[in-house]
Amino acid sequence: MTTSALEAWFMREVWPLEATLMQYLRQNWRDASAAEDLLHDVYVRVYEAARERLPEHPKAFVFTTARNLLISRVRHSNVVPIEVVADFEAMGLAAETPNPEQTIAARDELRRLQEAIDRLPPQCRKVVMMRRIDGLSRAEIALRLGLSEHTVASYLKNGMNALADRLYGGAQGMES
């Protein structure tokens, strides 16, 4: 398994699960504000396993990993979650049916991308569009908008982060 193949696998199988996964973590952990950290932890665990061998059923694997993480967190801390284990069957996760998230993600991707961009703060949005859609350089963007290149770079950076959060759906509540 090459690194780039693994990266592609994450893009295809894992990132589209983010919204559902985030929801699961929030529902099953008392401190909802920790969800983003938990989410990240799940990714790390999935990565470490997938690096050895790609799971046959990505979605079931990701959610099992999430559940195991929550359980281990409970054991290693004094935190008592509202509900330790979610009802997997009820969530339709037991069987790896054709992954609905992915279908939805593929179909709605353009709409979600558009929404993601639309919701950026105006100046940040302009910078992201000029760079990503128009292919202008930082210097050109800076010139057109009367900004320093440094500012352009920082808008881009924020825009990249916001796009990922919005596109993969883990963003609800992440932004202040």
Binding site: H40, V44, R107, A116, P122
Partner: protein, 326 residues
């Protein structure tokens, strides 16, 4: 898995910030091999770094698909349904399309002095950024050659369809040659198509001139936005199309095909441009049924499914071929 024994990870948000920092740097033009090494080192420091970087990078990569869908800033609410060309495009200028005779496919690169070839297979799509700041987008099954010199920029479209966003430079004319037809930009963005015995040009914005280097056109034609020239054999037609129609014809730039009152025969032909698994309409009655809508260019199954449910036709699979009949 070892994560159980690790201390709490540094806050995910902080790692995401750093990942975006790296991505922003990697997106600059001056990115060097040394930078790449440093990034690789940061990524190897922790799987958490790698995850954050891959995630933000994948979203940024995906965002490239947006292209044509853009709405002008501050006007998003009004723009919902009808995709149109954003003001960003207006800066460069115009759009135009062409279509003509068949050629042979080459996947060669740099053939001859300062000439570069680009080609896409069936279902392929490619964006080429030229050193002069112009951009070319190749649609499915397309092949073209680019010659850049001090005094001219010349593109030879051998086959297929391409969309051109030209950085205008009066001292260095930008021309597209498709068979014996030539399009010269006058501050223009355009797309060009070339097939069998047909040739088609549509100008979406700006201005361009159409002529024939071999003198087979009596007068050069100056095109205005909305103008569509269609030529097949001896027939030569110029018509004016509304902007939305032209935008629909550029649907391929975002991976979709848009039909308005297309017959099944036309729709099948369009799908067959993008897919090796072909659709065949088995009887003339079915071929005349009409359909409209937006479809993913590479999803023949979804199309077949919808046609069956909507029009009540029979859909069968014979190996790679999808056969539609009454």
């Amino acid at each position: 898995m070892s994560a159980e024994n690790l201390p709490d990870p540094p806050a995910a948000r902080a790692i995401k910030d750093r990942a975006a920092d790296w991505l922003e740097r990697a997106d600059r033009s001056g990115w060097s091999a040394e930078d790449e090494t440093q990034l690789e080192q940061w990524l190897s420091e922790s799987p958490a770094h790698r995850m954050a970087y891959w995630r933000v990078k994948s979203a940024w990569d995906r965002a490239q698909r947006l292209h044509v869908l853009r709405a002008p800033a501050g006007d998003a609410a009004k723009e919902e349904r009808v995709p149109r060309f954003p003001p960003i495009f207006a800066r460069t200028a115009a759009v135009l399309a062409l279509l003509a005779a068949a050629g042979t496919a080459t996947l060669s690169f740099t053939s001859g002095p300062h000439e570069t070839s680009y080609a896409t297979g069936v279902g392929g799509r490619e964006v080429v950024a030229l050193s002069d700041g112009s951009k070319i987008e190749l649609n499915t099954n397309t092949s073209l050659r680019v010659r850049l010199s001090k005094h001219e920029r010349s593109i030879i479209l051998e086959r297929g369809e391409a969309f051109f966003q030209v950085k205008h430079d009066a001292s260095r004319p930008f021309t597209v040659l498709a068979g014996n037809r030539r399009v010269t930009d006058i501050g223009t963005k355009f797309f060009v198509r070339r097939y069998e015995r047909r040739f088609e040009v549509a100008l979406v914005e700006g201005s361009a001139r159409l002529d024939a280097p071999d003198g087979t056109l009596a007068h050069p034609v100056v095109l205005s936005p909305g103008d569509v020239v269609k030529e097949k054999g001896r027939s030569f037609v110029i018509e004016r199309k509304p902007e939305t129609t032209l935008v629909n014809e550029l649907g391929w730039r975002r991976g979709v095909i848009v039909f308005t009152h297309a017959t099944l025969a036309e729709a099948a032909a369009e799908f067959n441009r993008y897919n090796t698994a072909k659709i065949r309409i088995a009887d003339p009655k079915a071929a005349r049924l009409t359909i409209g809508g937006t479809f993913e260019a590479d999803n023949v199954d979804a199309f077949a499914h919808l046609v069956r449910n909507l029009l009540g036709v029979k859909v069968e699979r014979h190996g790679d071929e999808t056969v539609i009949s009454e």
